[in-house]
């Protein structure tokens, strides 16, 4: 694990614990005899803050940190490293697809949007043709419909069509 990654993750964790502690202050702490809802979160937030501060300090103290940090510190450099493989870009696209999937579900319904998701996802993962992804998607949706809706009687968001 490079110190740069250590520093970045520690900073995120410190921010997270500080925000969490600020929110904790909204709830009553009460007394030691009867600790309130803020007592336990306060301890947890405090421990996380100490741990992540410790991690940050150790990362700074470890040799070779600063030079590496300066070298690769720029935003464009980081973006380039992140997207260095086609794979990472695909993860980004898939995450975006999933967000859209969740949004359109309200209009198209669960099964129609899931049908489209499987096809697109399969194509994104380098399926060469359209026929097999479509067949796969139809099969999966039918299986899930029979299992979860017909048998277990769960209800899923319904759209304009289905």
């Amino acid at each position: 694990m490079s110190p740069r990654k250590d520093i970045a993750s520690s900073v995120v964790l410190i921010l997270f614990s500080v925000v969490f502690l600020i929110y904790t202050a909204r709830y009553p702490l009460d007394s030691l005899e009867s600790p309130g809802p803020a007592a336990f979160p306060l301890v947890l937030g405090g421990v996380l803050l100490i741990l992540s501060l410790g991690q940050l300090i150790r990362a700074f103290l470890s040799p070779g940190t600063t030079e590496e940090g300066r070298e690769k510190g720029s935003v464009s450099g980081a973006m380039r490293t992140f997207f260095r493989g086609k794979g990472e870009a695909k993860v980004f696209i898939l995450a975006f697809l999933l967000v859209i999937y969740l949004f359109v579900m309200q209009w198209l319904g669960f099964f129609v949007s899931t049908f489209l998701l499987v096809i697109l996802c399969s194509r994104l993962m380098e399926a060469k043709d359209w026929v097999r992804p479509i067949l796969l998607s139809a099969g999966v949706c039918l299986f899930c419909y029979l299992l979860f809706v017909a048998w277990i009687k769960l209800s899923f968001p319904q759209g304009l069509l289905f």
Binding site: M1, P35, G36, L102, T114
Partner: protein
Amino acid sequence: MTEQGILSYLLITLQIDNVIACFAGALIGTLIGVLPGLGPAAAMALVIPLTLKLGPTAGLIMLAGIYYGSMYGGSTTSILVNVPGEPASVVTTLDGYAMAKKGRAGAALAISAIGSFFAGTVSVIALQFFAPLLARAALAFGPAEYFALTVLGVVLLSNMTGKSRSRSLVMMMVGLILSTVGMDPIGGLERFSFGIEAAQGGISFIAITTGLFGVAEVFAVMAAREKPMEILPVRLRELYPNRAEMRRSLAPIARGSILGFLIGLLPGPAATMASFASYGMERSVSRHPEEFGNGAIEGVAGPESANNAASGGAMIPLLSLGLPFTPATAVLLGGMLLHGVTPGPFLLRDRPEVFWGVIGSFYLGNAMLLILNLPLVGLFAKLVRVPSRYLMPVILVLCAIGTYGDNGVLFDVWVMLGAGVIGYVMRRYGYQPAPLVVGLVLGPVMERSFRQTLIISGGRVESLWESPLCMVMWGVAFLAVLLPLVVPPLKAKMKGRLQSKP
């Protein structure tokens, strides 16, 4: 309880719906073990809505079947493809794959199935005796003891997961923090839900687990280039180990079973640790340590037995204390609570049919897995060839459906997606998801016991460590924190001194 009473409860397993549930669980578990992309914890989380239809006993038998079935399946791909299906089978690749390359794949698979069966059975027998004993002892546990035990669990778990102790501890804290979202367990006040109605009952455990172990894995597979896999062939007549192989495997299987079971009792990723510990032990006691890594059957027999025994051992703290220390047992706990079954000291008294029904299913499930795995091993191995471009979209859909089906709210699916993205980034930064999931489950128990102890004692902080039991647990926890800090520098110093002497 009389022996006859126990027997009648054990026979509950043989009711037809329970047998079907056991078979389905074992089969799903084997498939999960073989296929990449979905670990046992996520798979169990996904079938929880399904098990609600089956009722508590059959439902939990099915969940348990997935849990130990995945241990069987994991070894198949380790041996034939050099790709471990789950972490506990990593060590099997060393000698299992080497054996396969020498044309002894069948023998390695058979020995691993036989060892798993033997170890699984040993651990169930021990479970049957130890779990009620521990449950009885746990009746003496008050809130202070429960708090000390959860703290000990947190400390030991972070010592044993992954490479970095501080990272594991950090993840555990994040899990504990996430567990505080929703109703406060004592006063009922709503916390950290930001006005979102679906978050008032707490963050869905299933959404987090499927996100971290399912969706994040799909992202990871997507990021990595797909490599064509070479599967070594298995012929049916090769399936049986020869006499020498059988003889050499007996002692490792026995040692692995005992070692695995004992490690299973400890809080931590028991199955993985057990397999590594057993491999180390076999190599050190072997007369031919040079064979290890080149296809020593002991290197397959020991670890494969150990990881199965450990998964049985890990059921003891869950069933008798209600505390899970692995992600898979954490999901099992979640499933039990959804079925209205509370694991812990009172489980045996209140729901003996569930307790013994699940234990009985371990016997049946192990036998089924042996029958299922020996002849069908070639078929299971072929499943690895299913291209990820078809497998991953299916896993994504199952994650979405399983998560939605749990509570019927779309918010949970958003949580799953968020957990998936964060889980993927976390792994790239060297943080493991397992401690987070365990923290999420231990959180409410820890908070409740912490606050109850203070309320009962009238605010005396000493009451958290005053009782002898608490002192022992706190003592072990402190040692577990201090020793890794003190021992390595001391060792280095000693080494330096020895080297400086002429």
